[in-house]
């Protein structure tokens, strides 16, 4: 766990988060979303990226946070079992190598965050939570 690995630094629900670069395919802006009625609330819908259809995940819903209104949102795409998902975020800043370490003992993340976190790293004095995208998608329900 001591090696510095490339991560994308972003914000989700006002918190600083990290996505491992190995899990992220692209960073995209998503505006047109076709809803998927009757699916879980965290499934925001489908979107076309070039000729590919992706499932758009409402990350805020996964984390029991209030969702921002519809509109253009930034997302990272990731593939799980051959299906591509776009995971919406507040914002993405840049990519940089960081060292992810286990969370300080006793840190209470809350159930939803704890289920998707793999550790944390500190950048410019701010602690960032490292998120596993596959686990986030598995929580969609």
């Amino acid at each position: 766990m001591s090696a510095r690995e490339l991560h994308l630094v972003g914000r989700l629900g006002g918190r600083g988060v990290l996505f491992p670069a190995t899990q992220v395919r692209r960073v995209v802006d998503i505006a047109d979303i076709v809803p998927v009625p009757h699916a879980a609330p965290a499934v925001r819908g489908l979107a076309a990226l070039r000729s590919r259809v992706v499932t758009v995940i409402d990350s805020w819903r996964v984390l029991d946070l209030p969702s921002p209104p519809p509109g253009r949102h930034r997302a990272v795409t990731t593939a799980v079992d051959g299906h591509v998902y776009a995971v919406l975020v507040d914002d993405l800043e840049d990519a940089e190598p960081v060292e992810v370490v286990p969370l300080p003992p006793g840190t209470a993340l809350g159930e939803s965050w704890a289920a998707i976190a793999t550790g944390s790293a500190v950048r410019d004095g701010e602690p960032l939570l490292a998120i596993d995208l596959a686990r986030l998608i598995a929580r969609v329900g």
């Binding site: 047109d32 076709v34 076309a48 000729s51 259809v53 799980v80 079992d81 051959g82 998902y85 998608i137």
Partner: protein, 754 residues
């Protein structure tokens, strides 16, 4: 068989190339066990294939070499140079014969006995001399090559992707209003369509690939169980997507084993039940539209549903009351419940492999369905129905709750406008029932099921699902479209109402609805049994002589028709028969089918069946009150006038025998109705069933030389190039002379035009 032979040639050639090195190495060191094993495997495989393909010459050579090598492997023989030479000579000769078969040339069997004799340790011929090299045969022009399946899959994916890019391009161009690239885009569309078709065909394989393993499975399983079974295989030439074949392989073998293990009784039990010692198992495939139906029918004891229920209750006593309340068909469905082992279904022998629930899940995952027809004491028929291919689907695009969705064309039986007055909607409990032409169907509204803003449905799509039909209320029908279906992510599939997704020309992703899923989510429950076709009695093959089907004709007399003249037997619902142009027609989804009979036809009563004659005999249907039995015709048949082939004495009764050729020769093909213009797709959905019921065959394009009796076109549409006796124009508003939603008026106009 040709295909199998080609495969054998290709395989043998590849193996020969692969073992060429082994041969040389073995020659250098006859004690090398690994080389010996490789060559042994080769001759062993060749021998096996030869028995199957009926190539006795190659088979004899391979067999002799196998025996000699087996002796070496068992340590009974030392591999001396004479033996090595003799084996290598045989391997060479096998190569030469295979090349000759491929080239279609004859190769003289010269010296093959000597080659075999040379394997004998006591062989006294010229030791140490390699027998003459085989004559050089010109290598046949190979008409087939072997490709890895991965490569085909990549091609298919590439083409699917290309279709999507083409769609996007078309969309962008249409938006920009730029006409400059229209010609190029058309050419691209055309090429892509052809490519798509070609690639789809590369993925097709005959069902034989699936069926060829069955004789062995049946033989082995029957021997193991001490049962005697005759297997009949039919329809092996039906083509199916390769992927489908792979996905069907396990379910099919499972079903066949089940039939033998639990269905067909031991000879003693059969005798006691008044049956023949030898059980019958009939496996068949036939195509119906773009679906393939594979049937596994046995004449065993059927399923004892009482025992099935008792088995479940013994494990889960809480369910006793619930299960007791089920109908026999619902009880049969319990076979598909998770955790129900085949031990519950029959008796002694242990259930093996996967359960029926897994089989059903696997079949449903590929868009198929599975249905059971149980005749206690007489056998079980399992029908597995699957689509031809996975990737490309003809879809009806509908709108509900402000969003567009695709419905598989296959599931849409017809579309009816609620405003046309031909329908009536009633509330019943919390549900709704719609009456369409005396047919009552449960009604659900798409927007309501999906939790979207609700409006009164303007159109009803009558959907067929395994076990029944229901009406789905939608706001509008937009058009029909060929779509490339992509699997949706698990997060989407968990909604339970989608079968996949697609990206149409609009550039907006569209969800493909799952008709069965919508019914399920809405609480509609259908028994899967109701719709099952009556099983065609399995034909026996073990005895010589003509077999015929004895049936009760519509005039109450018993008659017989040669079994070979019947492609299948299906139920004949009274509502599906219509009279037009002095004939009776059966409409069952596709083109109308003419009814023929040896006696005067009349409207059918409920419970009748139709004997479907094969295409060569005109594909007509012969209505009967009831199929009775399969009988063997005596050799003495007294002559009679057409359409009778004669009169035969069967079980002491004089039975009239129908001459199928005389029936097929009866007059008249259905009249032709052409749907013309840009709205032909719309007409096909809305009007086709009604037009067909009026006795027409409906096409969107005429074959060369064909002329339509009537053509339908929208008002104001070009009529250039329409070869027709009469053109009917449909209006877009109720004020027009012939409003397009006024189905009754359209049908009346058609009758008049005839």
């Amino acid at each position: 068989m040709d295909e199998l032979l080609q495969e054998f040639i290709a395989e043998t050639r590849e193996s020969l190339e692969a073992i060429a090195g082994e041969v040389v190495a073995w020659e250098a060191d006859p004690a090398d066990r690994a080389r010996l094993d490789a060559i042994f495997r080769f001759v062993h495989t060749v021998k096996g294939s030869c028995g199957f393909l009926d190539l006795p010459r190659v088979g004899r050579l391979a067999h002799a070499a196998e025996d000699a090598l087996a002796a070496v492997r068992a340590g009974e023989r030392v591999p001396d140079p004479a033996l090595v030479n003799a084996v290598l000579a045989i391997v060479d000769r096998i190569g030469a014969i295979v090349a000759a078969i491929d080239a279609g040339a004859a190769l003289e069997a010269l010296g093959e006995e000597a080659l075999i004799a040379a394997l004998d340790p006591a062989y006294q011929g010229e030791k140490g001399i390699v027998p003459a090299q085989p004559a050089t045969i010109q290598r046949g022009q190979s008409r087939s090559i072997r490709l890895s399946v991965d490569l085909l899959d990549r091609m298919m994916n590439g083409v699917s992707e290309m279709v999507l890019v083409r769609n996007e391009l078309a969309h962008r161009l249409a938006e920009s209003g730029d006409q400059a690239f229209e010609g190029a885009l058309d050419r691209l569309s055309h090429t892509v369509a052809e490519l798509q078709d070609a690639v789809t065909r590369t993925r097709m394989q005959t069902v034989d690939a699936l069926f060829s393993a069955l004789p062995r499975v049946v033989r082995d399983t029957a021997a193991e169980l001490g049962k005697q079974v005759t297997l009949t295989i039919d329809g092996g030439d039906v083509e199916l997507d390769r992927e489908m074949i792979e996905l069907l392989r396990d379910p099919l073998v499972h079903m066949v084993r089940n039939a033998l293990d639990h269905g067909i009784e031991t000879p003693a039990e059969r005798r006691a039940a008044g049956k023949r010692d030898i059980g019958r198992l009939a496996v068949s495939a036939h195509q119906s539209g773009n679906r393939i139906i594979v049937e596994i029918a046995d004449d065993g004891r059927g399923v004892d549903t009482e025992r099935l229920v008792a088995g479940i209750v013994s494990r889960d006593p809480m369910r006793d009351a619930e299960l007791r309340a089920l109908s026999p068909q619902q009880r049969l469905e319990l076979m598909f419940e998770a955790g129900v082992s085949s031990r519950d279904i029959a008796t002694a022998t242990s259930g093996r492999g996967v359960g029926m629930d897994v089989v059903r899940t696997n079949v449903e995952q590929i868009g198929g369905s599975i249905a059971l027809l149980n005749r206690p004491g007489q056998g079980l028929t399992v029908s597995i129905e699957v689509p031809l291919t996975l990737a490309i689907l003809s879809a009806v695009v509908v709108e509900g709750g402000g969003q567009t969705f695709a419905l598989p064309r296959q599931a849409v039986h017809e579309i009816v406008a609620t405003a046309a007055g031909a329908t009536r909607i009633d509330r019943i409990g919390d549900g709704r029932i719609v009456t369409i032409r005396d047919r009552r169907l449960p009604l659900i509204a798409l927007d309501e099921v999906l939790g979207l803003p609700v409006r009164d449905p303007a159109l009803l799509a009558v959907l067929e699902v395994p076990g029944g039909s229901y009406a789905l209320g939608v706001d509008t029908v937009i058009d029909t479209e060929e779509v490339v279906v992509k699997p949706a992510s698990p997060a989407v599939m968990r909604a339970g109402v989608y079968a996949g997704m697609t990206l149409p020309d609009s550039g907006h992703p569209m969800l493909l609805l799952d008709a069965a899923g919508l019914a399920e989510v809405s609480g509609l429950r259908f028994s899967r049994i109701d719709r099952v076709e009556e099983e065609a009695p399995p034909a026996a093959v073990e005895e010589a002589g003509i077999e015929a089907l004895l049936f009760e004709d519509i005039d109450g007399r018993r008659r017989a028709i040669p079994l070979a003249a019947i492609s299948r037997i299906e139920p004949l619902p009274a509502a599906s028969v219509h009279q037009a142009a002095g004939q009776h027609w059966l409409s069952s989804g596709g083109a109308p089918i003419r009814l023929v009979s040896a006696v005067a036809l009349r409207a059918p009563a409920d419970g009748w069946s139709a004997l479907r004659l094969p295409e060569e005999l005109g594909g007509a249907a012969y209505p009967v009150r009831e199929p009775i039995d399969i009988v063997r015709l005596p050799t003495d048949i007294a002559p009679a006038a057409a359409p009778l082939a004669g009169v035969a004495l069967i079980e002491g009764e004089a039975i009239e025998l129908i001459d199928p050729l005389a029936l097929g020769a009866m007059p008249a093909a259905p009249r032709l109705c052409l749907l013309h213009g840009a709205e032909a797709g719309w007409m096909e959905i809305f009007l086709k069933p009604a037009i067909e019921a009026a006795g027409y065959r409906v096409v969107r394009q005429l074959a060369p030389g064909e002329m339509a009796e009537v053509a339908l076109a929208m008002d104001g549409e070009e009529e250039a190039g329409v070869e027709t006796g009469r053109l009917l124009r449909l209006g877009r508003t109720p004020a027009d002379p012939l409003y397009r939603y006024d189905r009754a008026a359209v049908v009346a106009a058609l009758e008049e035009a005839a």
